[in-house]
Structure formats: C-alpha cells, structure tokens
C-alpha cells in the first residue's frame, strides 16, 4: 500500500497492558494522524530464560518447561522437544504411541485455533464467538484432563513414550466430540467468518504478500494465508503424518487480496476441519500396545546435535539441541514461529490505520510466552 506521509508524527504506546496484544507486548506506534507510519514491537516482558535455564535441568525435566512456552498449545510444544530428543537418541516408538500423539497434537491444534478464532472475533468486536469457541475448547481440555490429569500444561509426551495410556472408552468420547464439533465449525462460520461486517473489516487490511512472508521466514497458518502451500507435516513428515490423508488449506483471497487478515483467519478455521479428519484416521489406526515400552531408564543422549522441526499450530517449531553426552542439554535453541511473524509485523502494518493494527496483530495469532520464552 502506498501512502504519502506528511505532517507531525506522534508516538503512541500500545501495551504492554493492552487486551488485544494477547500477552504483554508493547507496540510503539509512530502515527501520522490515523495512519501508522511505523510500528515497532518491543518484546521481552515475558522472558523467563527458558533456553539458559534448561541447561540446568535433566532431559525429562525440560518437558514441563516447554509446555510453558506456548501455553495455548502445550501438547504441540512438548511433542517437538520430545521428538528432537528421540531423534538424537535413536528411539523408535510403537504405533500406539504414534497414534495417540497425533490425536493429542491435533486436539491441541484445534484448541489453539479455537482460541485464535475466538479472540480474533473478540478483538474485532464480536463477543459471542469467543464464548462459543471457549465452550468447545473446554471439551477438549476435559479430554486432556481425563487422560493426563492436567488441563493446560500437560507434561504428557515423554521421551520415548507417554505419561499414561488413554483410558478405555476414550476413543468413543473422541468420536462423539468430533460429531458434535464439526457442525459447530459451520455454526462459527455463519456466526463470524461469513459476517459481512467482519469481512469488510478484515479482508482488505494487513496484506502479507507471499514474497514478504517467505523472506521473513513466516511459517504456519500465516504463511499459508498468503497462499503458500507449505506444511511441515506434509513436506517433512514426522510421526508418520505422510500416511494420513489431509488437505493443506491456503488463503484464496475470496474477498480481497491474498494474504489478508481474513485469509489467515480462514486458514485456521479450515485447518480445524482437517485436524478432525486426521483424528478420525488416527483413531482408526490405533493398535494395542504399551505406551511405556520404549521409555529409556536413563536419558543420556550421545554427544551430538540435532534439529527437529514440527508443525505446531502457529507454524514451524524447531528445537536445536546440542548434547555433550551428559544428563542435561548442553544447549537448547528454539526456533519459534511467533517470533518470525512478529518481525514481519512492522512491514505489514506500515501504512495501516490505527484500528487496523489490532486486526493485523490478532490475525497473526501470536503467543507472547513463546516469543519471549
């Protein structure tokens, strides 16, 4: 968008205590009237020294800390870490563990996307979808709690296995939930996605062109919203995702240019449906087995380094682990998807209206816990 700037520039601080920043983020807006000339994100309010701290914790003890990075999708966070350590140690898990992990990861993805869609509606000014999304998410959390005892920070994926096997009858509950939930997605579409006011508000702002997205290294639904078909689950399959049949939704630009806020939002809604499909297939593939079978007695990976990437709800999550052959990681580095999208934020929001900054930020679906770590 080409905008001519003239006149005085006023600095406006948005955050850190702003409800639409989804955490503690400060945006320094240089505004020229109603137009944003520059938006500089200041991050770090939620910094907990994750990477340094886990150098002093043994490998199994890192899992609860990974949960706390992206607390909206803790299952997916720990899955990435656990897979990285397993790759380093050369552990193969059995089919049951694989299928349960996929089910849990996809449930986590649905829960996370529900938060994204609900809070986005809330940011734009529509409150009902927010409550409805939380209602449906609650049922997922109930299932998580029944399985592992925690609602938000699970510590469920362990290195080499799972904390508990699923309970008898869990599969039926899961199918029952999916049968209930899939029509709810259509309801959500009628309630929010197809609402013309919502479309007018989002479909022409926050254009993230595919070139910009790729050059900034944006991943996940934000990249797919720009029309780039890239998904780690398909392009570098882990856990046997290649055996599953699912689509990768991309932004099509029905109501405006490709890569708008509405496209990013809609990619998430469509992904939820694909996740339902994956869960149904994973439940069908479930075979009996012992989920503790390949948990090592002592977690002591050989010296070496590993990079493992997985597709978490917000994009490509990478763990880089350096091991010196000891009981604790020598170095652990996280490549977090929200951080990369945050760096593209300035470019996207330049020239937007102040009120659109909220719409753009909400459509990126950032979680500050993961950006700051």
């Amino acid at each position: 968008m080409e905008v001519e700037y003239s006149g005085d520039v006023m600095t406006l601080n948005m955050g850190p205590q702003h409800p639409s920043t989804h955490g503690v983020l400060r945006l320094e807006l240089k505004t020229d009237g109603e137009i944003v000339a520059a938006a500089i994100p200041h991050i770090g309010y939620l910094h907990r020294c994750f990477e340094k701290h886990v150098e002093n914790v043994d490998y199994a003890g890192v899992v609860p800390y990974t949960d706390r990075m992206d607390y909206c999708a803790a299952m997916n966070m720990e899955l990435g870490y656990v897979l990285a350590v397993e790759k380093l140690m050369g552990i193969e898990v059995n089919n049951r563990v694989r299928c349960i992990r996929i089910v849990m990861a996809e449930l986590g993805r649905i829960a996370s996307h529900l938060i994204a869609a609900g809070t986005y509606g809330n940011d734009i000014g529509s409150f009902t979808p927010f409550l409805w999304c939380f209602r449906d998410r609650e049922r997922i959390l109930d299932m998580f709690e029944e399985t592992c005892g925690a609602r938000l920070l699970y510590n469920y994926n362990w290195i080499g296995g799972l904390m508990f096997d699923i309970k008898p009858g869990f599969e039926d509950k899961l199918i029952e939930f999916l049968d209930y939930f899939e029509p709810q997605v259509d309801n959500l579409n009628r309630l929010l996605s197809d609402n013309w006011i919502f479309i007018k508000r989002t479909a022409e702002v926050g254009i993230l062109s595919p070139e910009t997205a790729i050059s900034y290294g944006v991943t996940g639904p934000n990249l797919r919203g720009s029309g780039v078909k890239f998904d780690v689950r398909r392009d570098e399959p882990y856990l046997g995702y290649d055996e599953f049949d699912f689509e990768i939704p991309v932004g099509q630009g029905e109501y405006g240019p490709v890569g708008s806020c509405w496209d990013r939002y809609m990619v998430r809604i469509r992904e939820v449906k694909e996740s339902c499909k994956i869960i149904r297939q994973a439940v069908a593939k479930l075979t009996p087995g012992d989920v503790h079978e390949s948990i090592p007695k002592r977690i002591k990976p050989p010296a070496g380094e590993i990079y493992m990437r997985t597709e978490c709800p917000r994009g490509e999550l990478g763990y880089y682990i350096v091991s010196d052959g000891g009981l604790k990681p020598y170095r652990l580095k996280v490549k977090s998807p929200c951080f990369t999208v945050m760096s593209a934020f300035e470019e996207v929001s330049r020239g937007a209206m102040i009120s659109d900054v909220i719409a753009i930020l909400g459509s990126f679906d950032i979680v500050l816990g993961e950006i700051d770590r």
């Binding site: 914790v57 043994d58 199994a60 003890g61 890192v62 899992v63 609860p64 800390y65 706390r68 009902t128 409805w132 209602r135 609650e138 709690e145 029944e146 399985t147 592992c148 005892g149 925690a150 920070l153 510590n155 904390m163 508990f164 309801n187 009628r190 309630l191 929010l192 197809d194 609402n195 013309w196 006011i197 007018k200």
Partner: protein, 166 residues
C-alpha cells in the same frame, strides 16, 4: 453507490443469519457451573495438590532428584542398629529416618515427575484443588513426623525459601 447499498444489505442479511444461529442457541442447555455451590467431579488422574504418605516413605530421595524445580527438600539419617525395624505397607524396610520432608507447593509446577520414580508409591498427586493461603510460606507442606536422634541442627526451610525468592 451500488456497492454502498450492497454492503449495507449484505451486512444486515449476515447479521440476521448469525442472530438466527444465536437464537437457536438460547434453547440449549447451559454449560456453565455456579462454582462454589456446584462443583465438577475431578477425574481420578487429576494432578493437583501433592500428598506424601510419610509412613511409607523410605527416604530414598528419588522424587527430589526428579523434580525440575527442586521444590522437595529431604533430610534423612540412618536408623540405629538397636532400633526396631520399620516397614512400609508394601513390605520394604525403611532404613532411613526422614526427619525433613518439605514440599514447597508454591514452587511446584505440577508436572508429576516426582510421583513416578517413587518405589513405594507413597507420593501422589491428589485431585484436591482448593488450598489457597494468605501467606506464601504456608504453601510449604511439612510431611515429616519423626525427629532426628543424632541431634543434628535442623535448618528451617523458611530461611532457604526466602533466600530463594530474592
């Protein structure tokens, strides 16, 4: 001009559609709970407050080693030869006298990593969740019942915790 009226029209139509969806929702069952009066039954695997059945604890310290936040403090001493032998309920002989077994629930991250290595399964997470206190130090649960015989000075946990917190 045409677009202007089309937007208004579409706006009204889609808002009415969503109101229809919301209207149908009025006749469904409510999903909320009036919390203090109504309570949800917790699933049996719920991981809330920790509990140690100290009579069964052999003082091996495996739980403290597994804990990623170091919130379990254990101090033990050997039982004398002339003392009567003590056994846990599963028959394991308790050779150590645990005279300090403190869990700081304010530090605990509820990961449950400590409960799995316990050889006598005496450390468990219970489904109890209502235990707020006014003072943070009240979150230190002191499970040990026995006193040290060797007369070793017992370091109060509170000092350690306070230096922790700074």
């Amino acid at each position: 001009m045409w677009n202007y009226f089309r937007d208004i029209g579409l706006g009204i139509v889609t808002v009415l559609t969503s109101m229809g969806v919301a209207w149908r929702h009025l006749f469904t069952r409510s999903v909320t709970l009036q919390y203090p009066t109504e309570k949800w039954t917790m699933p049996e695997r719920s991981r809330m407050r920790l509990f140690n059945k100290i009579e069964d604890c052999i003082g091996c310290g495996q739980c403290a080693r597994a804990c990623p936040t170091d919130c379990i403090t254990i101090q033990t001493e050997k039982r004398g030869k002339d003392e009567p032998e003590v056994f846990a309920s599963d028959g394991t002989q308790i050779k150590l006298r645990t005279y300090v077994f403190d869990i700081d629930m304010a530090l605990c991250c509820y990961c449950s990593l400590c409960t799995f290595p316990c050889p006598t399964h005496c450390l468990v997470m219970t489904p109890e969740y209502e235990y707020s206190v006014y003072d943070k130090l009240d979150h230190i649960y002191r499970f040990a019942k026995e006193k040290p015989l060797s007369g070793k000075a017992q370091k109060p946990h509170s000092e350690k915790t306070e230096s922790h917190g700074q």
